[in-house]
Symmetry: none
Amino acid sequence: MSKILVVDDEPDISELITLHLMREGHECVCITNGLQVLNAVIEHEPDLVVLDLMLPGQDGMSVFKRLRADSRTRGVPVIMLTARAQVTDKINGLELGADDYLTKPFSPRELALRITAILRRTKKVTHSSEVRTGPFLLDRKNMKCFHNDQPVDLTTTEFKLLAVLMENDTAVHTRAELLREVWGYSDDVATRTLDTHIKRLREKLGDAGRHIITVRGTGYQFLADPSAQEAANVRA
Amino acid sequence: MSKILVVDDEPDISELITLHLMREGHECVCITNGLQVLNAVIEHEPDLVVLDLMLPGQDGMSVFKRLRADSRTRGVPVIMLTARAQVTDKINGLELGADDYLTKPFSPRELALRITAILRRTKKVTHSSEVRTGPFLLDRKNMKCFHNDQPVDLTTTEFKLLAVLMENDTAVHTRAELLREVWGYSDDVATRTLDTHIKRLREKLGDAGRHIITVRGTGYQFLADPSAQEAANVRA
DNA sequence: GCGTGTCGTGACACATTCGTCACAATGCGG
DNA sequence: CCGCATTGTGACGAATGTGTCACGACACGC
């Protein structure tokens, strides 16, 4: 179930679209004034916008451009709707970054399916930069780390180290592997840097440092559930 | 740059498509036999498949169904291509999970743009950490930045700043916006820090620093093509 | 062309982060 | 229990990153 914002001046078309979308299990919000689109997207945070380019008083295309110019709305997928079936119009719309372009008259069923097709691809995107393992949340985009929704302040190196460890929990990461992934060391260098950083990580994680397991003679391991430690105490 | 698999029996259409896609910087693989599609997808791991439904000897739709039935090929986006413009055909194709459905005759430019639109949404799922804008490549996962495949050494702050700027090229980012996104300043602080970091970024980018445009009185802007600068010199 | 305000630039002090080392603690095999 | 190897820990100096400031350069309005 997704939230769709429909921007159309003609009530009968809006109604037709809404009806079909709700039948598919989507939630719908309709507005008729193009000037409100930006605010509506910010307020409702829809998963997708259906934008009729034929709006009274203004150009739908400039409305779209404004959507793509604002960081808060730029990510939302947009399907353009218009009576102009010229190829150049289509190309223009797609070139500006529209996700699809439908010409009237269109089948509401087709629109609903195209919406589904786009949502199928986009749903994951918003969470793509975020990795969640147990009570931990790594936000790659903002380089932030959270433990039980409490922010943990990490250095670049610490963040990368934790990211590699978390990338495959339950897997044991050898010292050589970690030194390669985090520090870029290609050959097997004898250094205590890794140990020190593990220590600093554990320190900053506080009680949650228990999640980082030492695998003696091999390397380190991240466990989402440290209580299962004994079961995983196997040498590689 | 993505890898596209084109499945079409007619050589002239294949050639036309390939030509346009390669012009966009995509890599193309063409096959004519529908029976090979599954293996071709597994072997080449394309980012997208353009599938002509009119294949000799077999039904393109069943080829598609086989793609969606195999876990190794299920995720790959498919654009259907056909001469049948019936709405029921379209609906049928989209219902089965196609990402788009184009009817002949079609504009190769439109096809290329629709491919771009789909890739824009899907690329992030697998390569979520990589952002490409013009000659720049930002690798979030490893916090690396490349310009024309040459690595550029950036600080955490510099990286974040560039990332925000690149996130939407052509868009103007206000000082307040950048200070909020990169430094977390909520209220409008008067500081020259931003200027300094812009300077450092430009310095490190060398000649490529031209991509960062000053919008006097407003903020900064990243342009993939700095030569189009004049056209974009509009105040927000 | 002049004045004002904005932006670019270099220098500086301060803060943070990093890698190394010495030593302590711990685990493991005998 | 002992000795050895491995890991934990705290401290240190060096390197790097960061924000502020002063001054120069530049664009814009008049």
